[in-house]
Amino acid sequence: YRLFPGEPKWKKSTLTYRVTKYTSSLSHADVDKAVEMGLKAWSAAAPLNFVKATSGEADIMISFQSGDHGDSYPFDGPRGTLAHAFAPGEGLGGDTHFDNAEKWTMGMNGFNLFTVAAHEFGHALGLAHSADPSALMYPTYRYQHPFGFHLPKDDVKGIQALYGSRQS
C-alpha cells in the first residue's frame, strides 16, 4: 500500500457523505446501495463510521460528472479514466467524482459501481495507489463481487496504518 505525501487523514472517526448528483445509468437506490457497500468495506477494517447526509456540506461529496467539471481533472468520455477522488482535507478533500460518460452497473455488463466506489473511497480516506495487483487500490479496473467482499490484505494494512484496527 501507499499513502499520499504528508499522509493526510481524517481527524475524526465519524464522517458524513452525500450523493449530490446521480447518474442516469442506475436508479438512485442502486447508487446509494453501491456507495454504502463501498464505504462499509473500509469501516469493516478500521474504526470509521459513515453517516449519510441529504443536504448541506458533507465530508465526502459524491457526484457523477462529465468532461471538464471544474476541478482541473477533466473526465475523458467512455473508458480511460473512470473516476477520481481527493485525499482527506477541507473543501474538495474527500470528494469523489465518477465519469458520467461510463456505463455504470451493479453487475458485470459495464463498470461495476461498487468496485470503483470502494477504490475511490480508499483515496478519500487517505490511501494512494498500491503497486500490489491484488489490492483494491491498484489503479486499473478489475471487477469485484460486491456481496461478501472483504478488503484484500494490502488495503487492510494501509487503512489500519492510518486509523488503527477496528475493535470487535
Binding site: G80, T81, L82, A83, H84, F111, A128, H129
Partner: protein, 88 residues
C-alpha cells in the same frame, strides 16, 4: 516531440503514432506531479518521457525498458482510476 521523438524515443514496430500520443497523454496525466508539467517537458523533452515510461513500468511490475512495448501499451489502454500514480 515531433522532431525529437523518432531519434530519442524509438518506437517499436508495433507502436504507431496514435499509441505514442496516447502514451504521452497517459504519462502527463498519471506520471507528472502537478507543477512539473510544462517545465519538465521543456527542459528534458523525450528523456523526460523515457523516465516516466520507466517509472510507469516499474509501478506496474513490467520490464523496465523505457520503451512503449506491447505490454506497456496494454496497461496504458486499460480503464483506470484518474488519481495519478506519482505523488502530487
Amino acid at each position: 516531440y515531433s522532431a525529437a521523438a523518432p531519434a530519442l524515443f524509438a518506437l517499436p514496430r508495433t507502436t504507431g503514432w496514435k499509441d505514442f500520443y496516447l502514451a504521452q497523454e497517459y504519462l502527463d496525466k498519471y506520471y507528472t506531479p502537478k507543477g512539473e508539467h510544462h517545465l519538465g517537458e521543456m527542459t528534458s523533452g523525450s528523456n523526460s518521457m523515457t523516465r516516466k515510461v520507466q517509472q510507469m513500468q516499474a509501478f506496474f511490475g513490467l520490464r523496465v525498458t523505457g520503451k512503449l512495448d506491447y505490454s506497456t501499451m496494454g496497461v496504458m489502454k486499460r480503464p483506470r482510476c484518474g488519481v495519478p500514480d506519482v505523488a502530487n
